[in-house]
Amino acid sequence: MKPAELATCDRTASLEVIVTGLASDAHTWNLVFIQLLLEGLGHEVVNLGPCVPEEEIVESCAKHQPDLLVISSVNGHGCRDAKPLIGALRARPDLDGLPVVIGGKLGISQDRQEEQARELMAAGFDAVFQDGVDLASFETFVGALPKEVTR
């Protein structure tokens, strides 16, 4: 578990995945857990950690050219912060086709979960794993991804 700077870019691993928090979210354990989960499935992870500004997430994706970007947010601002981010990612031709998923507690109340998931999918996410979704569905999604994304 090393900061992103120290992670290698070995392409022999199954998938190279970037795991990140969002700009205003300080939570770390969710990110550490997802890293270990993906590593346990044989994937290679670059963990950007908590409170990563939007530009840094986009630039890290451009630099590492991952096979998957996993965003985890649990502070209740996730839905709000993720929409401009997915817009910025989808606007980059060099990141065309990058699978991007988000999960966690994305709003400060549980009333609007389904609506928020629809909004995020419409904004360009490939999958949304709201609070209460079991890990199996995340693992199934990751397992179904192609091993090498060709761009």
Binding site: M1, S24, A26, W29, N30, L37, G49, P53, I108, L135
Partner: protein
């Protein structure tokens, strides 16, 4: 909404003339045997914030009020805070520097007084604007620290955080010239909320207290967050008291305990049980103040009513613990605490502190060097300035223990850890949650995961206290 005019700390403000101080309030309560209880509470709606303060004020015998700041303001993104306010979008805390001072004065008017101090809690590595905003309101109590508000909560370089906190501390200390006694609480006793062994928590809390002291503050509280084993936690609180006495001359100090900051029990009964254990721990260890958790902790941001309940329950549990100790003849005033000669937490913390203080006469530079060399190294922390070579585990007795110490000067550890798996991490993270839920949640409850599977991803939201 008007943004606060203040962009950097201004000179001392006239409203700080009162002799009543945060430290005095806590000391008076401690002298009469009452544990001061305090919520974690912040709302972006000023009316709700005011109602919340009023309700918590009357919840128990000795209460301190809290304004918890939202996370946009915490990371210095006031533009997003203002935009959300203008769109009527609720934030996860009170945006103190984006609301007009007029609004904030209305929130506090007739609520905060010498019998109800209010503390601002935020979590910022760039605290200058927040500190300026709270001072402009006549408030003078807050919390944080150059390490604890930086490493766990983002990517601000540690060197920047040290400089920012130096400025914020000097500004707060300058308020003493007005007759006020500004109070600052370390957050160093809570790195990442869980799985950081007590020796390092106590060392960081004490080092941050010394940092505040050297910047001129003379009213300081040292934090410690309840961990996995009560005997170890009592050692930690007593170690912190001894270190405060050794390091902070001419200072009014007290210990503030945080009710468990990791994954919290999901059952109502388990949540209240853990809260009561923390109140008893505060009494036994000699902490003067307790910051509580509510029954909603595992699920969402608590309501005002849930905060009031938590304050009431914690205060009553502390009162009972005091009575029991008095009846048993085991009650001691803080001045006559038992000897700490056989305190492993003190020994480990003292070794870390001595190693840091030996690096540089300037404590800010010493902290930077200590992290660069891995003398201080927070397990599982992803910050680029943290070495990331330490690991911890929960031993068979439920104690939080090192499995890898990296370059920390605390002697060899007996056990070399195996490969850490997601499952292993999850079990450690949910150790306390399970212990307190097991009596109350049937394994087949709808929210529980099938056996052998980790629970949903978002179940990990309790791992740190900042929203």
């Amino acid at each position: 909404m008007t943004r606060a005019a203040t962009t950097r700390p201004r000179g001392p403000v006239a409203v700080h003339g009162s002799r009543a101080s945060f430290a005095r309030y806590v000391a008076d309560a401690q002298a009469r045997g009452a544990l001061v209880v305090q919520p974690r509470m912040g709302f972006s709606d000023p009316a709700l914030m005011r109602a919340g303060l009023r309700a918590t004020r009357d919840a128990a015998e000795a209460v301190v009020g809290t304004l918890t700041i939202d996370s946009y303001t915490r990371v210095g993104d006031e533009l997003s805070a203002v935009r959300a306010l203008n769109e009527d979008h609720s934030l996860n805390g009170y945006p103190i520097s984006s609301l007009s001072p007029h609004t904030s004065r209305w929130v506090l008017d007739g609520v905060r007084d010498p019998s109800f101090p209010v503390q601002v809690r935020h979590g910022s590595a760039r605290p200058q604007r927040i500190v300026a905003a709270l001072a402009a309101l006549g408030l003078d109590a807050t919390e944080g620290g150059p390490v604890s508000y930086c490493l766990p909560y983002g990517r601000t370089p540690l060197a920047d955080s040290v400089r920012n906190w130096q400025q914020a501390c000097e500004f707060l200390a300058s308020l003493r010239a007005t007759g006020a006694e500004p109070h600052l609480e370390t957050f160093g006793g809570c790195m990442l909320g869980q799985l950081c062994p007590p020796g390092l928590l106590v060392a960081l809390s004490a080092l941050e207290a010394l940092f505040f002291h050297r910047a001129g503050l003379r009213s300081i509280s040292l934090s410690y967050a309840q961990q996995t084993n009560s005997e170890q936690d009592v050692h930690a609180i007593r170690a912190l008291r001894r270190l405060a006495a050794e390091l902070l001359p001419d200072t009014e100090w007290h210990i503030v305990l945080y009710t468990y900051m990791g994954l919290y029990p999901r059952s109502r009964e388990g949540a209240l049980e853990l809260l009561e254990r923390s109140a008893e721990l505060a009494v036994e260890g000699g902490a003067a103040r307790l910051i509580v958790k509510t029954v909603a902790e595992a699920h969402r941001i608590p309501t005002v009513a849930e905060n009031v309940e938590a304050l009431r329950v914690a205060s009553a549990a502390a009162r009972d613990a005091h009575r029991t100790a008095a009846a048993d003849g085991t009650h001691r005033s803080p001045a006559e605490a038992p000897p700490v000669s056989d305190n492993p937490v003190y020994a480990e913390a003292r070794a870390l502190i001595d190693a840091v203080l030996g690096l540089d006469a300037d404590l800010g530079r010493a902290l930077l060097t200590a992290f660069a060399r891995g003398y201080l190294d927070v397990p599982y922390c992803l910050h680029p300035d943290n070495a990331g070579r330490t690991r911890s585990y929960i031993d068979d007795a439920g104690r939080l223990t090192w499995s890898e110490i990296g370059s920390m000067p605390i002697g060899p550890v007996a056990r070399s850890s195996g490969r850490l798996t997601a499952r292993g991490l999850f079990d450690a993270l949910s150790f306390v949650q399970s212990r307190h839920d097991n009596h109350f949640l049937a394994p087949t409850a709808p929210t529980a995961a099938p056996p052998g599977r980790p629970r949903p991803l978002a179940g990990l939201s309790g791992g740190t206290p900042r929203r």
